[in-house]
């Protein structure tokens, strides 16, 4: 094969979207949803829910939901749907924060953002801004500087949009990819649905890059891990301090930073005696990016060396930006 033919084939492959790892967005196809969907009601402020890696934030007191939904209209088979209840004038932002280690190499270069979006009627307002910003310090999004913002006029049907931005040097601190707007109607429910989000180097949007579920899940687990086992899970042994049940836990993949850990489980079973008890507390100690040590405390005294199992064991580890 000639060099010219090889380059032509490569160009065709690029145009067809066959080259991999172009997309800087993780879970842009909304395939992975380790957390439960969240319905509006009782929630305000900022939160992660539903599709991994998307942070929902809203001013005011109106409640907000965020869910993974099934649809083939947004570049794949899934999409993200934000639901906003009253009140009017409250701003919302749905953001993916890209850590510095994954974006620093693109500082000073052009990047192109592409996505599908639709929205329900909201008193005639049918616009949002697609915005890129950068963090004030490496992976510190406490304050952000807007790079550029482009207005999108959407409708009730999914439509495809692309925008090209130039990343400044500050983008080496990390970049926020945002969909932001405001609910204008004082009452009623407003929904915003989007998916197929891609950020790639260059001034041309290529077809959305479909990655395998396992690949996308592993990328998400750098930021959040949800481990839930039904039935009994053998986790460790009763130590010399026999009111405790202790066990080491290793994360599936190395996490971005030492995560916040929640540990829960129904009943702690102690197999040596065949009896069980409910821990008065379960905490994580010695948390690192690789794992932690679970300690569950309870009143009954057990025999050191006995096997400990947890019923309906649930671990979450959160190292999101």
């Amino acid at each position: 094969m000639s060099k010219a033919r090889g380059l032509a084939d490569l160009g065709n492959a690029y145009s067809d979207g066959a080259l991999s790892n172009r997309n800087m967005i993780i879970n842009g196809g909304m395939q992975v949803a380790q957390r439960s969907n969240r319905s509006p009601g009782g929630f305000s402020g900022s939160f992660y829910a539903g599709p991994d890696r998307w942070l929902v934030n809203r001013t005011g007191t109106g409640t907000t939901g965020f869910s993974q939904v099934s649809s083939t209209s947004y570049g794949g088979t899934k999409a993200a749907q934000a639901t906003f209840l009253a009140a009017a004038g409250e701003a919302y932002v749905v953001t993916q924060r890209i850590e510095d280690a994954n974006i620093a190499h693109l500082a000073g270069q052009q990047v192109t953002l592409s996505f599908w979006v639709s929205g329900s009627s909201d008193a005639g307002s049918a616009t949002l801004n697609a915005t890129l910003s950068y963090a004030s310090a490496p992976d510190d999004f406490t304050t952000e500087t807007t790079i550029s913002s482009s207005s999108v006029s959407y409708s009730g049907s999914a439509a495809y949009y692309t925008f090209t931005f130039t990343l400044p040097s500050g983008a080496a601190n990390g970049v926020g990819v945002k969909f932001e707007g405001a609910k204008t109607d004082a009452t009623g429910t407003f929904t915003l649905t989007f998916g197929g989000v891609q950020l790639e180097v260059g001034d041309t949007a290529t077809p959305f890059e479909h990655r395998s579920y396992g690949d996308e899940l592993a990328r998400c687990q750098r930021y959040y891990q949800h481990v839930q086992e039904g039935g009994f899970t053998r986790i460790g042994v009763v130590p010399a301090i026999t009111t405790n049940r202790e066990a080491p836990f290793k994360f599936t993949t190395e996490m971005r930073a030492s995560p916040s850990v929640s540990v829960s489980g129904g009943t702690a079973y102690f197999f040596a005696s065949g009896s069980n008890d409910t821990p008065s507390s379960s905490t994580a100690e010695g948390i690192t990016i690789h794992g932690f040590f679970q300690k569950s405390s309870g009143t009954p005294s057990r025999t050191a060396g006995g096997t400990v199992a947890m019923d309906n064991w649930l671990i979450t580890a959160d190292a999101e930006l």
């Binding site: 402020g45 001013t59 905490t283 930006l321």
Partner: protein, 61 residues
């Protein structure tokens, strides 16, 4: 837009191995979490911000 977290309690834990301060047991948005003393952790950063702003007190464990 300011990112808001609802932190309703925070208690300092002690590492049994070293005797040094370990993670903070905090209730954040209604969920009890063990938060490591790592400035790169967004929950820890927010706890420190709220303590410095006088909005939160870390209790002794």
């Amino acid at each position: 837009m300011e990112t808001k977290m609802n932190i309703t309690s925070a208690t300092q834990g002690t590492d049994e191995l070293t005797g040094n301060p370990s993670s903070i047991q905090a209730t954040i948005d209604g969920q009890l979490m063990s938060v490591p003393l790592d400035p790169s952790n967004r929950h820890y950063a927010e706890i420190i911000r709220q303590v410095e702003a006088g909005e939160l007190t870390i209790q002794d464990g």
